[in-house]
């Protein structure tokens, strides 16, 4: 459903500027300086879909167990290289575990952590942003100082502390990453709400007899959902990198459960002789984060009502 902020301006004829392949892929401003509604980012959508399918159907797709060790096959290079075996398409690590299988299972952890942390952190941020922006005054002042405090907090240090006190695991990871996320959500949503609150339909809702809670739930939240969805997609990349970093540092999921961050961590010692152990999960993270960010950029432009044709 489209949203009209003001009278829709008469759409000026925008000349189709020449765009190179990379410019259009990266969705940057065209040479004329006019931001065009970008085309659908098919490549990122395909990459994201493949990774999601990998994660969901991991037991069906993975050729081997991600945990079982076959020590006589250790550190085999990918199949297309000299010395590689066809059985191990992407090679094996120092314990002879199939890297492809670990990659497929590792996607599960990354996406599960992303889903849980974005629900928790994003949800808390949404609620705090809406309340802070709508109620205003002292409540707003206090909540926004809390947000400032959260921004100054070293999240990685805190996650390490949590891992020590609560033990490693998905729960610890999700809590640590949520604490990293909520403040950013709260601040952006609050800004949006401050603008919305001045709109006449919010004032009129009070005149019609709506309570504050009702106004927030039926008038404010539906109008910030666009922004919320864009924040979610743009933060998926942050979460995946945070999960990988924490697993790399040993504060995430304990081994031998495969996660992408842990795989890099395990492979880094032998990067000279067996680069594929660390590089392949690294490429996977890069591809996923880049795809998600490109998709998020496109979604932001798509949902921005000023860029949409009515």
């Amino acid at each position: 459903m489209a949203v009209a902020e003001q009278h829709p301006p008469a759409a000026p004829e925008i000349p189709e500027p020449h765009q190179s392949f990379w410019r259009s892929l990266l969705n940057v401003r065209s040479s004329a300086g006019v931001r065009r509604t970008a085309r659908v980012p098919w490549i990122p959508i395909v990459i994201i879909s493949v990774i999601v399918i990998m994660a969901v159907f991991a037991p069906l797709l993975a050729p081997y167990s991600p945990i079982d060790q076959t020590l006589r096959d250790k550190l085999l290079p990918p199949a297309w290289m000299e010395g590689g075996k066809d059985r191990y398409l992407l090679g094996t690590d120092q314990f002879g575990r199939d890297i492809l299988s670990r990659l497929i299972y590792g996607a599960r952890v990354s996406l599960l952590v992303a889903l849980l942390a974005l629900t928790a952190g994003g949800g808390v941020g949404l609620v705090i942003g809406v309340v802070s922006g709508y109620v205003g005054g002292k409540v707003d002042a206090v909540l926004m100082r809390l947000v400032d405090a959260a921004f100054t907090f070293p999240a990685i240090l805190f996650a390490l502390l949590l891992a020590v006190t609560m033990g490693q695991g998905i729960g610890t990871l999700v809590i640590a990453i949520s604490l990293l996320l909520w403040a950013g959500f709260a601040r952006v949503i609050r800004g949006e709400v401050l603008a919305l609150r001045q709109r006449d339909f919010v004032q009129l809702a009070r005149v019609r007899g709506c309570s504050s809670l009702r106004i927030m739930a039926t008038h404010i939240v539906p109008n910030v959902l666009n922004t919320f969805m864009v924040l979610v997609t743009l933060n998926i990349g942050v979460v995946i990198i945070a999960e990988a970093s924490l697993s790399f540092l040993g504060a995430g999921i304990p081994p031998p459960t495969p996660t992408w961050g842990l795989m890099i961590s395990e492979g880094r010692g032998r990067i000279a002789e067996a680069w594929w152990v660390a590089l392949i999960p690294g490429i996977a993270i890069t591809l996923l984060v880049l795809s998600v960010n490109l998709f998020g950029d496109w979604l932001r432009d798509r949902l921005d009502p000023r860029l949409r044709q009515l």
Binding site: V3, Q6, Q203, L204, V207, G209
Partner: protein, 327 residues
């Protein structure tokens, strides 16, 4: 109370609204007051229209926000059917909300873009638990017909309507709870000139049908003349002239009102009035001029104007002016 006073629907009595100008949030201190509305009194009778005229910043919007119970007056009181409207809570406030409604100027901002027209119109019915779904749907259809839209347009979203249609939806939403008074804050000034007359006639038809009173806030004299029975002219938070609309348009007294009339071309019976073109800006309401607030821009300024504040008094029965020229 006299028989005439009994018909009064809304009474605004000696209302003042000062906004504190503060610094700091948690430990704030007051630096001064903006006297947005300063000792204003007027009445609206059931089924009639009162026009409130003045340039921007004169306190029109503050008055209408106080009547809508979105702001509390600093001093004075507002009565609806002889009951004070401020300090209401819970059910009493909800009951008040059904009696006084509003239509705002900008139809692009006054409708929630995420709700269908039907849901917007039904809002006050849903809030007051007026009836079940079918009953509300029937009422919405009836309201849409009344404002000149089709009942099936209840399913459309605001962006699917034109400006004039949107304003009709806003009006239908205001009418849903059968209010006694509707505050019309510049209801036609955002519309194309070609559809203004339609909207004004619709408002008049609805008033005749439902005996609803209007408070018409406007800066456009033509609209006020067409719509209102009484007119109040404000300048910097004060009433400068108050009269039945016909009497005011026939015989403008206050120099500020004359200036307003000079600024627009209006066909009037006695056009021999001198033209007044105001110089300079409106003074700041943070620090209004002493005496008569208009004396800094008035072409007929006298020495006493800067010392003594003129009282609003009748120059002819029903026609009140606040100016030393008529003492």
């Amino acid at each position: 109370m006299s028989a005439a006073a009994e018909k009064q629907l809304l009474r605004v009595a000696n209302v003042r609204k000062y906004f504190a100008f503060t610094k700091g949030i948690l430990f704030s201190r007051t630096l001064g007051h903006v006297k947005a509305v300063d000792d204003i009194s007027f009445e609206i009778r059931a089924g009639e229209t009162l026009g409130l005229v003045g340039e921007s910043g004169c306190g029109k919007t503050t008055i209408s926000r106080m009547i809508l119970n979105l702001e509390e007056p600093t001093e004075g009181y507002i009565l609806l059917d002889d009951e004070p409207i401020h300090g209401l809570e819970g059910e009493a406030l909800k009951a008040y909300r059904t009696k006084v409604q509003a239509v705002f100027q900008d139809p692009w901002s006054s409708l929630n873009p995420r709700m269908t027209a039907g849901r917007i119109i039904a809002e006050s019915l849903i809030v007051t638990k007026w009836g079940d779904k079918d009953k509300i749907a029937a009422r919405v259809a009836e309201l849409l017909k009344q404002v000149g839209l089709r009942p099936d347009q209840a399913q459309q979203y605001p962006h699917e309507f034109s400006g004039g249609q949107r304003q009709r939806v806003a009006l239908a939403a205001a009418l849903a709870s059968s209010p006694k008074l509707i505050v019309l804050d510049e209801p036609v000034s955002a519309l194309d000139v070609s559809i203004r007359a339609q909207m004004m006639n619709l408002l008049k038809d609805i008033q005749a049908e439902r005996n609803v009173a209007y408070l018409l806030v406007a800066h456009d004299l033509a609209t006020v003349r067409h719509m209102s029975d009484h007119t109040v002219v404000m300048y910097l938070g004060k009433i400068v002239e108050k009269a039945p609309t016909q009497a005011l348009f026939d015989d403008v007294r206050h120099p500020y009102t004359k200036a307003l009339f000079s600024a627009v071309l209006i066909a009037r019976a006695n056009q021999e009035d001198e033209e007044i073109v105001l110089q300079g800006e409106v003074p700041s309401p943070l620090n209004p001029p002493s005496g008569c607030r208009f004396h800094t821009r008035c072409p007929y300024v006298m020495p006493r104007c800067s010392q003594e504040e003129p009282k609003l008094r009748d120059v002819t029965p029903g026609h009140a002016v606040a100016c030393h020229l008529f003492d």
